[in-house]
């Protein structure tokens, strides 16, 4: 790793101040950032650890019935606490990495990083979630801006993510067996306003909504409604884990299965 200093603020306002420094970067659970630092893919001058800030941890429900997850909440906690209120989300969290990773990795860190194979972006996008930061609120549809890119500004911290609870939802993940990242992951959520289908792991542009599938499912929420619909291979990731054609094929298969499992 390149040299850096590290700060460990205990309040959000201290963290915001610390992140104003030149070359400062937020550190969540570290499950992605620390390997990146070791590989010298990131070179911050100051790491601002958010792990001691209690006010951004925790899960609750707001007045509109949305589930609010603090940005510093580890996946393991989401898996344990949401099993009744939003089971698809709990199930997604329970399958990230492995148990030790889930004890450290946070939702805020995952969304801010926007790894094209991460699971949380699919959940946020499919749930029409609202990402709350230290300075504003951003709709999920506006949040993701491409591979490893979001609209977050320098030093902006994800403090909370608010998920409207759907009528039905399911997350299907075809894991890359070694890393357990999503080779392709599809999150389907049915709301009164319509069905949303978010796909991760597949596209060179990162997480996206499969609008053709959404249209079909909004009028008929069944796997049969997707018969004959497939996703193009163009623009899909091709790497040592799978060809673009394979990923495109999996999008179709997993979307149908998500719909069938959502019930």
């Amino acid at each position: 790793m390149y040299a850096f200093e590290i700060e460990r603020p205990t309040s959000l306002s201290d963290a915001v101040s610390a992140l104003k420094a030149e070359g400062a970067q937020a550190l969540g659970g570290g499950q992605t950032l620390i390997p990146s630092l070791k590989a010298r893919l990131a070179m911050p001058e100051v790491l601002v650890s958010l792990s001691a800030i209690d006010e951004i941890k925790g899960i609750c429900t707001d007045d509109e019935g949305r589930i609010c997850i603090g940005g510093g909440t580890p996946h393991g906690r989401v898996a344990a606490e949401l099993k009744d209120s939003y089971p698809a989300l709990a199930s997604l969290a329970a399958r990230i990495g492995d148990p030790a990773v889930r004890n450290r990795g946070t939702i805020g860190g995952s969304l801010a990083n926007n790894d094209p194979s991460a699971c949380w972006p699919a959940a946020a996008l499919a749930s029409d979630a609202v990402i709350k930061t230290d300075r504003r609120e951003i709709a999920a549809d506006d949040f993701f801006a491409g591979l490893f890119e979001t609209v977050l500004e320098e030093g902006e911290i994800v403090t909370e993510v608010r998920f409207p609870v759907p009528q039905a939802a399911n997350y299907q993940k075809f894991a890359q067996p070694a890393s357990r990242f999503a080779l392709v992951g599809v999150f389907v959520a049915k709301y009164e306003a319509g069905v949303r289908v978010a796909v991760t792991g597949a596209s060179e542009s990162g997480v996206f909504r499969w609008t053709e599938a959404e249209e079909k499912l909004s009028s008929d929420f069944s796997a049969a409604a997707l018969e004959g619909l497939s996703h193009a291979a163009e623009g899909m990731i091709g790497d040592l884990h799978g060809t673009p054609a394979y990923r495109a094929h999996l999008i179709g298969v997993l979307t149908k299965r998500a719909v069938a499992a959502a019930g």
Binding site: F174, A178, S179, L240, T243, Y246, H249, L250, V253
Partner: protein, 816 residues
Amino acid sequence: MSVATPLPHDSAPLHVTGRARYVDDIPAPAGTLHLAFGLSPIARGRIKAMDLAAVRAAPGVVRVLTREDLPNACDTSPSAHDEPLLAEGEVFYAGQAVFLVIATSHLAARKAARLGKVEYEEMEPLLSYDETLAAGAEFEAEPRVWQKGDAGAAIAAAPRRLTGRIEIGGQEHFYLEGQAALAIPDDGGAMHVVTSTQHPTEIQHKVADALGLPMAMVRSECRRMGGGFGGKESQGNALAVACAVAAKLTGRACKMRYDRDDDMVITGKRHDFRIDYDVGYDDGGRIAGIDFTQVTRGGWSMDLTLPVADRAMLHADNAYHLPACRITSHRLRTNMCSATAYRGFGGPQGVLGIERMMDEIAHVLGIDPVEVRRVNYYADCAGGGGGGGPSAPRSAAPSPPERYLEQDRSPGSGHAMSGALAGAGKRFGAEHSPVARPVEPQTTPYGMEVKDFLLNGMTAKLLADCDYAGRRAAIRAWNERSPILKRGIGFSPVKFGISFTLTHLNQAGALVHVYQDGSIHLNHGGTEMGQGLFQKVAQVAAARFGVDVAQVRITATDTAKVPNTSATAASSGTDLNGMAAMAACDAIRERMAECLAGLHQAKPEAVVFEGGEVRVGEAAMSFAQAATLCYENRVSLSATGFYRTPDLAWDRIRGQGRPFFYFAHGCAVTEVAIDTLTGENRILRADILHDVGASLNPAIDRGQIEGGYVQGAGWLTTEELVWDDKGRLRTHAPSTYKIPACSDRPPVFNVELWDGENPEATIYRSKAVGEPPFMLGISAFLALSDACAACGPHYPALDAPATAERVLAAVKRARG
């Protein structure tokens, strides 16, 4: 009695409390320096310029060495002396060491290494099978060809014929403990090296050569490895030599370990293979003749490619009698890491070649794949074992194993043995009675008689016990009703030859001390990598003295105690070192018996060592008291032991002789499920019946069988190595290379040991168990093929590893 007892691996309390030390845990002397290599990023090229100024100036750096700074090439090869420690003007693979950094910390060394600026004139690397064959880049002047009968004529005359090809991937060892070495300079230029290695003697040899020292001035040790699997047979040489050279130059202790990514890039892998088959057979599936072409990519240097490729040829027959056979083997030199030893050592690849062929024959004929196997099995044979057949003359003087057999068979013998071994040995399981007994034993393609073939009986037992027929029928019915998920069931047998094919390696030594307080110090040339060798040999020593195994102190493998040892490899560690230890123990025991007999006016044969006691006539004493008494009577209580495997004779050019002392057998039935929409697959159940002779330690043997199966299944399913078109390894971390995890082993996993004895005089009539079970994983691959075949009329022609995407492709091929 300690043999045939399920004792745990040694050092249990140390392992579970984190106190068991591996090389990197050893408290190093003050001032120890740390080493790191600067590696070539390209697969083939000439070094035009090397600017290491920034490396030398980096914090913590003490010295930076290139080839010019070394006294000689400091070769690290186990064979052809074609591996200079540092590149000599040219690089031959991406990952080759070009310079060596010596620094005050591990991190400082690695960071400094990144600062090297090396300019290369890039050349075209040879990577693929076809381009390398076309270029004629092979390790031997001609391909190796072995023949039995006239395969061409037999194939042409046969009623049916088919040709096919299978591509077989390599495998990364992924020992949890990476490569590591520590060198400490001794007085007068001598050097002490501690390495995570299966071959301390080779470390000693290579270090001595590099330093220009006689071997007696180098001491090489290993207490334990955190996994080896063949990956530490030769690949530790580079670290040990680097550390020794650096230690000599600096006068300080030097330590080196590879970071995991570096380890995966630098070190060799299992040889990948491409095997073509051309077979003539009849309507019953009986083989008339086969023509195999085996091609393997050996990487940039020879390393162990010749014996690996030889062993692939030696196992091209697996369990089947081939009336006529021709095997052509090409050993390709490619610009990749040097493929090396790995559990099975070419055997699994050869076996998979014929198993795939059998699978295809069964498909064409529409018959149960098991029947094709059985109809081609070697026949059981009357009279086997006990010292070699007509092809190898009996040795003149009785070697230790024969002598102990004579003694142990006589009633009232002074040497107590475990109940299971007293009296005449059992030859086969009680329910097995061989049906056809030809007068002349059948021979393998290389002319070795197959005199103790167990698979007819083992197959019958396994198939019955696991209800193969019933389940196969049930799976077919289930598949009819299941459009998306398909199940498959596969059976594979293995007959694996035990001994080093390089005959002179089949030797071992031991050193045993009985101290005057009765405690026992045991040392031998075998190394412990988790296979339980140390415990098994300790059990033998304890059995010879009639004491509890806790009284035997297991000590680090050390060239200063036992010289000229072979690698712990070829599954032979227990066989060879157990016999050597036994010889040493027996020598001491005989002296003790003679002394005590003399003191009690008795015959030495009447002295009994049992239950921690020694009894002579009416007198009884503890083993400790006996030791004290012998010491006071000036009896030497220390002895060396030696063993050499008898009756081996092997001509590797002609491909004729007896390369193996005996065969170990096993068979497995695996059931899998596949998702025909994604290719995802899962192993549901495995049933294994394995032949370990008379087991020295059933718990350790079971662990080897289970571990071998899982590792073999991993090799053929998820463990995919990927190189890019520039020859760089892309799968160089556990995030991209998937080895089996806890959730990957089959939920139903039944393992049984075949009840029998080794007819050959091995240590307590046991059989080697390290490698043979690895090939049982082939049944998982065949089960996947069966599941794919359930999708359509065509043969799926599945290649290995059967990743999800490959399974999906095979499903499509089956459908047509």
